[in-house]
Amino acid sequence: MVTPLAIFAAFLATGFLLPLADKLGRRVSATLFWALLAGFAGLAAYYLASFVAAPGTLEIYTGGFEPPLVIALRLGLEESAALAAVAAVALLAAFSMRKALHEAPVSGMMTFLMLVMGLSGLVLTRDLFNLFVFLEISGIAGYALLGFDDRRLAMSAAFKYMVAGGIASAAYLVGVIYLYRLTGTLNLDLMIGSAGLEGAAGAAAVFFVLAALLVELKPFPANGWAIDAYEAANPGLGALFSGAQATAMLFALYKVFPLLSDAHLAVVMWAGIVTFAFSNLVGLRQTATRRMFGYSSAGQVGFVAAALAFGARYVEGSDFAWLVAGGLLVNHLLAKTGLFLLSAAFESDGDGSMKGRPGTLVAAAAGVLVAALVGLPPFPAFWAKWDLVRVALATREYAFVALVGAGGLFEAWYLFSWLVRLVKGGADETPEAAPVPVLRVGADGVGPVLAALGIAALGGLSAWTRGFTDPLFWAPLAGGLLFLALDRLPGKLKALLATAAIAAFGYFALPSMSEFQKLFALMILGGGALHAFAGGYLTGRRAGHFPLYVMTVLSLGYALVAESALGFFMAWELMALGGYFLVLQGAKGRSASMIYLAFSIGGAFLMMAGLQLGGGLIGGAAPSPAALALVGLGLLAKLGAFGLHVWLPGAYAEAADDFSSFFSASLSKVAVFALMAALAVFGEALPGGELAWRVVGWVGILGAVLGALAAIFQEDAKYALAFSSMGQMGYVLAALAMRDQMGWTTALYLAATHFLYKGMMWLSVAGASLRTGTRTMYLMGGLIKRMPISFVSFLVGIIALSGVPPLTGFGGKWLLYHSLIAKGWYFEAAASFLASGIAFLYLYRMIHSIFLGQPKDEHRTVKEAPFWLVLPQLLLLVAVIAFSVFPRLILDPIMAVVGARYPAAGFAFEGQTLVSSLGYWNGLLTIVVVVVVFVLTFIWMVMNLRKPRLVKQFNIVFAAERPFRPETTHFAFDFFAPYRRALGFLVRGRSEKAWTAVAGLATSVAGAIRRLYTGNGQTYALHVVLYVGILYLFLGVR
């Protein structure tokens, strides 16, 4: 094995040779530079490979003597991994900086090499003073590199960096001196366990070393200098700082952990996590990309340090450090490197405006990088976070968990906002604005794509090593990748393929499902396949739609069959991520997708905490009210329960029409599934007991009332349907909260029928808005004559939704009221009456405004909706009719499922009659009576019809006048003005205002904290000194 000393020799030699080679021409010196970097990377890879194959450590003693006489280096698995990381980042960064490096004086390349060498030394050395030397080498190289391209801003940043670095170095030296005095050695291994470290003096000495290393890790709030450096640095250099230097510094910190007492470690842990939360909070207000990445880097590094310290404090063995801190670190360094390189390629200058929009591949890479950084599956940070939170909850470090959650949420917000700016271009959401051109970045895209590939591979590896070998688990990702590869195919073909893919998933997944899971599989996978087919309704390729769609549907499918809490949660997060991107793809999806994301991530974190508290979803854990409450809150956010619903209308409405339909009809049901499953696992007890369930019931009912009320005032068809969905899911929630046989039967029945009729209505509206080119209802009208099938579908949908017998909806109402009254929830029942009455208003308004009334001249020639939309509607229509005629078809399986959980309580079928303790309902007889009466009446009408004359739209009695134009005759705008006068005050978006206030609070706090960062070097120096002092106080050394 090549001795690692060769690394230093080679770097130093090359460093000296470079100026000479440069005399022969830049080409020669550059070749030398690249050759060295490549060789270094190759060596690091070789080390890594050999240590993975044969674990062990290689101790290198310089000069042939044993320590303490000589400096010792160590090379093991950990060191080689860190070296590989440094090398990889260095290569990518150098590649990104190639132009600047080639053009600047040769000293640029030299300094670059020195920096890399210094970082390698930090990783390898086992000697405290040698560590200082490498600290200084890398530090000085860093200052120099910052200024190497001679920009004024960079020079000033470099100076501030130097000041902070100097303070840190001074502290370090002081610490090392004391340590040497106390232990008589500078070798770390000899120092560990030395009696000299006992007592206050030892603690203080260690503290100085620790403080120096911490300061070098750029902790909040003493990191103003670092942020300035990130902002000013060349993006490639930023990557190097954020990726390689942070890796090396964290490694150095990790190295000194054995010296630290628990109090020291606590300081590291809290300093790290506070940095994570607050750096990200400040990042909220940031728009300049590199500065934003600077905050993110500081936060992430703090997070890794915190995780390291946490592991050292609470967990035996090094596996935790490997999995969690290592996972977080590698995740951070690859993602951040990729992002810095992306910003170099796309950003025109530091203010966040973009030169152009990336193509599909680079956009996908950007998505992967951001998602990875935020800790979404399947990337390494996701798995790391899961473990970290599990242990943190087990050790009751709740504040720590809360900070992890908060920091992650803030980071997600600004990073995804940046991503939106990148892939959509600009900050303007007006549809009239010219589309941002795609910018071909060529070689500059290689770095980010490589980073994304690496991170994805590592993520996959993490999953695989955790025992996820089930093909169904991999299906969402594989499906997404497959369709990404097929993205060039025509949209209609892809729609068919996607249908097939989802059907295939169902075919493989169904055999292992319970009846309960099958019921939801019908809604989710069945709905997924239907909507995949409907996805063919648009012409063109629909670039990017199908990969995300297939991934989302299949991850929902996996969520149904997941056998572990982690698997379920992964699928859940993946689904949220897919949903986010699908909403973002909508023409005006920006702000809607961001709000959706915030609630998804927040909700998911609560859920994760709950799952961990409960100890696992499937496979009996002890009942835990707190776990149920947390999981439940997370699920309520996904369900769009009242108060947590503010994301819902926008997300439903602004996504592509077919996905809106899937979103509302199918996706929302997974929350119901999860809620029911959670009840099965965690028990039914909530903190607060029955009263809490009553509150949940009221949340559902309020959602039903206010959702319906908001729906009637919408002019946009999709918003109306979105609010309607919110209302309908409110009933489901209320029914679920009853937790008895009738309640759950009601909930499942409502969920299943909502899937059927809401799918019909969304798709019908999709067809209408496709043909008319608008979603605004009053601009449509009279489409019944042009789109009769869509009309019938919508009509059956509204009859079913409104609960008018004889269609399926009535069953839902019957069950709801019977169960509510039987349960003794009388006022809930009365409020449901009001809600279902209000539902009539928006349903009528929609069908009137879209399909009836006056047709517009420009819609006189529109055609029926495409076959791709019509067929799914017809299938749903058949299902609705079948379930209407024979309610047992759907109620029998539901009651079987519920019966397995709740004993029958005076509620069963007698023949075709459903009998409860309060009454009875015979669906078959009802529909027979209605149909017979209807047919007889119809015959009566036809028989009495004399000389019927079919007339045109303006052949109406218009007070002896003639109508002026269809637009002035179609009564559709502000349809329920009297209602607005009477009850409009109830729906003025109080929830929206409340959440806006919360968001406003966060951003203003961020703004206030940002004032710390004055840009003044002296202030920053003061920050650093004060920070060290305060940390010392926290240490509580007496």
Binding site: F810, A830, F938, R981
Partner: protein, 304 residues
């Protein structure tokens, strides 16, 4: 005991015929009573029959489309169906109708069947006033449903059932057993809702004849109008029978039913002749005010 299917259908037709004739006569006599209040002689009691014959005897008709034709079909089927789901006379095989299809909830929701269909038919007429009328009607409906629902919940709690026949059975044995006396608050709430349901003053803004020429049916004519007029009788009959069953002890024979429903309907006239009209938003606020509080009180009284 249980009649055969053909016999049951025959009974249903007989029952329907009785309620239609009675409903029309009821409308005619109420118009005559109104005339008396205004110091007029008024139209003949049988005038509704003549009007229906006249409308059905028109020689031509127009239509705006299929849904326009189906509107009155929905409406009349809704009226007839509602009646079919209500047992009209306790213990009578003939007037049992098809009440075994479902309980009170079925009736309450089937009421919407005709309204929804009619609203759609009127919409296809393309007349803005139709849509305005429907908008007002639906808006008002959601409001009066609240006290009505509370009242229904109250009696469901009181009698422990939503089965109409059982509710009537529970009220037998002397008029003091009627809901009117055992649960007066529920009856008051329901009767106020009934005013809204019937669309007489002060809740007649839906069909305001001068302002939005009779609202939803403004484009309907000829036999389509005839069907709407017929429905008015049947539907009124069904609602009155329902109210009688729920609140006024039901009926064990036809004369009792006639007397009771006549008196219930008379409340409309009594109030309608004395009050001017509410605007829609006023009506909504009205129903969600005192009547709702009365309904809540009725529920509270029996539930806790």
């Amino acid at each position: 005991m249980e009649p055969s299917i053909p016999l049951r259908i025959a009974y249903a037709f007989a029952s329907l015929a009785v309620i239609t004739v009675y409903g029309l006569l009821l409308i005619g006599s109420m118009a005559r009573i109104s005339a008396k209040v205004q110091g007029r002689v008024g139209q003949p009691v049988w005038q509704p029959f003549i009007d229906i014959v006249k409308s059905s005897g028109k020689r031509n008709s127009i239509s705006h489309g299929v849904m326009f034709w189906l509107g009155p079909v929905f409406r009349l089927a809704g009226g007839v169906g509602t009646y079919m789901f209500v047992p009209a006379v306790l213990g009578s095989v003939v007037f049992q109708n098809f009440s075994m299809s479902g309980d009170l909830l079925l009736v309450m929701y089937f009421i919407f069947f005709g309204q929804l269909g009619m609203a759609l038919g009127a919409s296809e007429g393309g007349h803005p006033y139709s849509a305005i009328g429907v908008s007002r009607g639906l808006a008002q409906m959601t409001a009066f449903e609240v006290p009505f629902a509370l009242s229904i919940i109250s009696i469901a709690v009181q009698y422990g059932t939503l089965d109409i026949t059982k509710i009537v059975m529970a009220q037998q044995g002397g008029f003091l057993n009627w809901t009117l006396f055992t649960n007066p608050l529920a009856v008051v709430a329901a009767m106020i809702a009934f005013l809204g349901m019937s669309g007489h003053n002060p809740f007649s803004v839906v069909i305001a004849p001068q302002e939005i020429p009779i609202g939803p049916p403004t484009e309907y004519q000829s036999n389509l109008l005839g069907m709407l007029q017929t429905n008015r009788a049947v539907f009124n009959g069904a609602k009155l029978v329902l109210y009688m069953n729920l609140f006024f002890g039901g009926a064990t024979n036809v004369p009792v039913m006639v007397v009771k429903t006549f008196l219930i309907y008379f409340v409309n006239i009594f109030v309608g002749q004395a009050f001017p009209r509410f605007r829609t938003d006023q009506a909504i606020r009205f129903f969600l005010g005192v009547p709702t509080l009365i309904g809540i009180a009725a529920v509270v009284l029996f539930a806790f």
